[in-house]
């Protein structure tokens, strides 16, 4: 479904991605793991058209490298950024409405689905989004992207800084997303959720993919975990 080949990206003069290759299949949950600063966020930003790229990004056989972000979004890719970019000056409901693309009909999700999954959002539907707690803002960003009815969602560090109870809610939502046939590309630093729900994982180091396999294979590969994932004192 998503096929990234030999992707290079640059921030000004610094070369961030050195030929990334990865795929995400239909209805699959794939995780992109690695320490901070190895290029995981840059990878999905390149796919999203927010960072200039060199290489090939194909989504359902359509080349997206070089397309503006709104074209990428309209082709069926949803993006949930790490910094919880909610629109603080408008209400929760209006935030969700903006997730819908002009004219398109959302076949999979209704606003009630979102409220059923996260009752907190229903209670605060008419409150300004800026007053929500960090966890609620994270839910809102996710739900807003789902309202655009994507076939693939790329989620950057969704559990960063959240209470364990909310992390559990997130895990339930990921299962629900998978049930409805949507693929997920999850960027994570912590392994807990990623290892539990992913069918395949990639590990990134210094702007390249250094490991590809199933969660079990990663668990068994101690040297990769030591070198690229675990924080060594």
């Amino acid at each position: 479904m998503l096929n990234v080949k030999d992707l290079n990206a640059y921030y000004g003069k610094s070369h961030i991605l050195h030929g990334v290759n990865m795929t995400v299949g239909n209805g699959e949950i794939v995780s992109l793991l690695g320490r901070n600063g190895v290029g995981r966020s840059t990878t999905i930003k390149s796919v999203m058209g927010q960072v200039d790229c060199v290489g090939s990004i194909k989504f359902r056989e359509r080349e997206l490298c070089g397309s503006p972000a709104y074209t990428v979004a309209r082709s069926g890719i949803g993006y949930v950024p790490e910094n919880r970019d909610i629109f603080p000056g408008i209400t929760v409901r209006q935030n969700l409405l903006l997730g819908m693309k002009g004219g398109a009909v959302n076949k999979r999700w209704s606003m009630d689905d979102m409220f059923d999954l996260f009752p907190q959002l229903r209670e605060r539907a008419d409150a300004l989004a800026g007053v929500l707690s960090g966890g609620e803002q994270q839910m809102l960003t996710l739900c807003r992207t789902l309202m655009g009815d994507p076939d693939l969602v790329m989620i950057d560090e969704p559990t960063e800084g959240l209470a364990p109870k909310i992390v559990e809610q997130m895990a339930v939502l990921f299962e629900e997303i998978k049930k409805r046939g949507i693929s997920i590309l999850l960027v994570e630093q912590k392994l807990t959720i990623a290892m539990r729900i992913s069918s395949r994982v990639y590990v990134m180091g210094h702007g390249q993919i250094v490991f590809e396999g199933t969660p079990t294979q990663l668990t068994n590969n101690e040297s990769i975990r030591k070198e690229w994932l675990e924080v060594t004192g």
């Binding site: 503006p68 709104y70 979004a73 950024p81 002009g102 655009g148």
Partner: protein
């Protein structure tokens, strides 16, 4: 009392006209981060377009056609000018709008000449609508207020109640995220720029015949709307609204008041001799100071509150 009421009404109509100009400038600034030096040129184009179109159709169709024309010019400027210059940064954008203001002025010189054109208040609105004590209030000023207030309400409703308004509001602070949700943000920018230009054009249609339609009008009003936008706080619509009314009132009231510091001293029984060094300074009247007052306010505001009345960012 009579003086106060009439001047208050005049300052309100002038202030609302200023807001029609500064609202567009503020919206464009918040979205694109660029202060559009050519904004007042769209005001001038609006007045000239209304004059020219009016020669063929009369005032009423021109009232609608001229702002649409100016809006279209605005869209063109954004799409083929600003958007190309954008990748070279804000300084390049600023210089671009600066140059554009001169180009527009020269074009106006070429087409309509340097002398004022005969753009007048239409006959159908050239009458007295009501009389305050002994002053006859012109219908055209009342008409201006009605149009300004309805524009203000429509602008508010569009920004807060419609989907496109929500997209605009969200793009003010998070353009990248809005685009990642599948909205064509560059096109939204173009519409906002065109809308701001059209509003400035409408202000030109309304103000051009009340004041004078001549090539210097853009510069004259341009400096005042910059004062309004900075005073109200860059990027704040409510700030621009309050500042427009305030600057409008200050300008209108001060030209009508012939008091000087000398009068003030005299009223408390003090006198300055005519041969004193300070006599000249103290006898300057408020009306003589009027043209300077807005800029004086601007300087004071920048010293004591650089972000303006309601501004959020320090620019």
């Amino acid at each position: 009392m009579e003086f106060f009421l009439v001047t208050a009404l005049n300052s309100l109509s002038y202030g609302l006209l200023l807001f029609m100009l500064s609202s567009g400038l503020t919206l464009i600034f918040s979205m694109m981060g660029v202060l559009n030096f050519a904004h007042a040129s769209f005001y001038m184009l609006g007045a000239y377009a209304a004059y020219q179109v009016g020669l063929f159709t009369g005032f009423w169709p021109a009232l609608f056609i001229a702002p649409i024309l100016v809006g279209a010019i605005g869209a063109f400027v954004e799409r083929y000018g600003l958007r190309t210059v954008h990748k070279f940064g804000h300084v390049a954008e600023l210089l671009f709008t600066f140059g554009l203001a001169y180009v527009i002025e020269e074009v106006v010189h070429l087409i309509w000449g340097r002398a004022p054109v005969d753009y007048r208040v239409p006959g159908s609105l050239d009458f007295t609508i009501f009389t305050i004590f002994t002053t006859q209030y012109p219908a055209y000023r009342a008409f201006m207020m009605i149009i300004s207030i309805s524009m203000l309400i429509s602008l508010y409703l569009i920004l807060t109640r419609t989907r496109i308004g929500l997209i605009v509001q969200a793009s003010l602070t998070h353009p990248e995220m809005v685009e990642a949700l599948g909205h064509n943000v560059p096109r939204v920018f173009m519409f906002v720029f065109a809308g701001g230009a059209a509003l400035a054009g409408l202000a030109g249609v309304l103000g051009g015949n009340l004041f004078i339609t001549e090539p210097g009008m853009a510069f004259a009003v341009g400096t005042i709307i910059f004062v309004v936008v900075v005073f109200g706080g860059m990027g704040s619509l409510p700030g621009a609204f309050v500042a427009s009314l305030l600057i409008g009132a200050i300008q209108t009231f001060s030209v009508a008041l012939d008091y000087s510091f000398l009068n003030l001293l005299q009223s408390v029984g003090l006198e300055i001799y005519k041969d004193s060094t300070f006599y000249g300074l103290a006898s300057i009247t408020l009306s003589q100071l009027a043209p300077v007052l807005p800029y004086l306010l601007l300087v004071l505001m920048l010293i004591f509150r650089p972000s303006g009345l309601m501004g959020k960012r320090e620019t």
